[in-house]
Amino acid sequence: MNKVLHIMITLTVIGVIAGGVLALVNIWAEPRIAANQKLETELAIFLVQKEGKSYDQIKINKGELYKVYDEQKNPIGYSLVYEGNGFQGKIRVMIGLQTDLNKITSIEILEQTETPGLGTKVTDPPYKNQYNGLVTSPEIKWVKGKPPAKPNEIQAITGATISSKSVVAIVNEGISELRRLKNEGKI
């Protein structure tokens, strides 16, 4: 009986002390972690909307949508966070769009788990800069092995076709979702 009591008391004391210490550390860390996350989101929003100065978040069902304004508070476009499947896992893309949704300002890959050195090339400027000023109607197309001819085309990366295609699909899907919302007058 004494033995059992000893075991119970020891484990309880250890647990209580551990919990207390963690609570204290969390009080210190929590606001900092929240601030970091906010900073990261803001950075990404303005990365794809270079002239943006302020933003509003709009609630949508899938993804995150931010309406971006310039210095005079005129709306200049949207920043949309959208995700979909890549080659190995989820790819999260920040898409910058003009207010009429007809042109992309630029895109940024926020998260990906593609093959290092191959699929990860979608995060490099040669690939993602192709989206700067890309026309989105009727939809974005990709070509392989030759430079894009039409204003709504991008060239897929050799050796990373699936990752390239995935990004195109995610961007298309995100834009068509926004178009639907716009037609319904929700944004």
Binding site: K3, I7, T10, L11, I14, V21, I33, N36
Partner: protein, 225 residues
């Protein structure tokens, strides 16, 4: 009273004689996963060393209070507490690093180096010895991760700490930063380490002096017993 090795050796044995990666073969999962670059290996080793030192000291302090039946549970709670502290501090102060190491920080809880040293050493030895043992093992882990990280980053990306070190024409060997490269590097280094130890043991046996010397692994058995 059993014979004890000097404090100095208590620290230094972790660097080579019982190097956690090459000799104890502990903590393989983080070793293989994070050593794609030098900086990741460095951060992982420092985080592990921090947890290892603090939990070893605390477990050594409590070694007479904890009932034998629940010692593992108690160790895990102590280790998990320190790991959570590291995780929170990193998320709060070094968000970039914390993102790169991703799920591997919480996994330090079950890193067998820490539980292994707690069970094999800290639970039986004085606080000072446990501290030195933990620090030594941490340093050994750091050396191995830096070694693996440097080799893989140079061959796989042509850089060290992000700075290019190889001529521009060099085509990086992608396999080195993929999981397969981790296994290859680790296997070769481990083979090299064993080859060296074998050769030294054989050389020691052949000299007259060797007959009177206690082999390194028996010294260790004594301290761990």
């Amino acid at each position: 009273m059993k014979k004890q090795i000097s404090y100095w050796r208590e620290y230094f044995k972790g660097l080579w004689e019982i190097n956690p990666t090459f000799k104890q073969i502990l903590g393989m999962c983080p070793t293989l996963a994070v050593t794609v670059s030098v900086i990741n290996g460095l951060a992982m080793a420092l985080a592990t060393t921090f947890v290892l030192v603090f939990s070893s000291v605390l477990i050594s302090l409590m070694r007479k209070l904890i009932p034998n039946q629940v010692r593992i549970a108690a160790y895990i709670v102590v280790i998990a507490t320190f790991v959570t502290i590291v995780d929170l501090v990193m998320k709060a102060s070094f968000p970039v690093l914390s993102k790169a190491l991703g799920p591997f920080i919480p996994l330090i809880v079950v890193n067998c180096i820490i539980l292994g040293r707690a069970e094999a050493f800290a639970s039986k030895n004085s606080v000072l010895r446990s501290f030195l043992d933990a620090l030594g093992n941490g340093t050994g882990f750091l050396i191995s991760l830096l070694l693996l990280g440097t080799i893989r980053e140079i061959l796989g990306s042509g850089t060290v700490l992000g700075y290019p070190v190889l001529p521009k024409g060099y085509e990086p060997m992608l396999i080195m930063i993929l999981p397969a490269g981790g296994f290859l590097t680790l296997g070769l280094l481990m083979g090299l380490a064993n080859f060296y130890t074998d050769k030294k043991d054989r050389a020691a046996k052949q000299t007259l002096k060797g007959k009177y010397m206690i082999p390194a692994n028996e010294v260790l058995k004594e301290t761990e017993a």
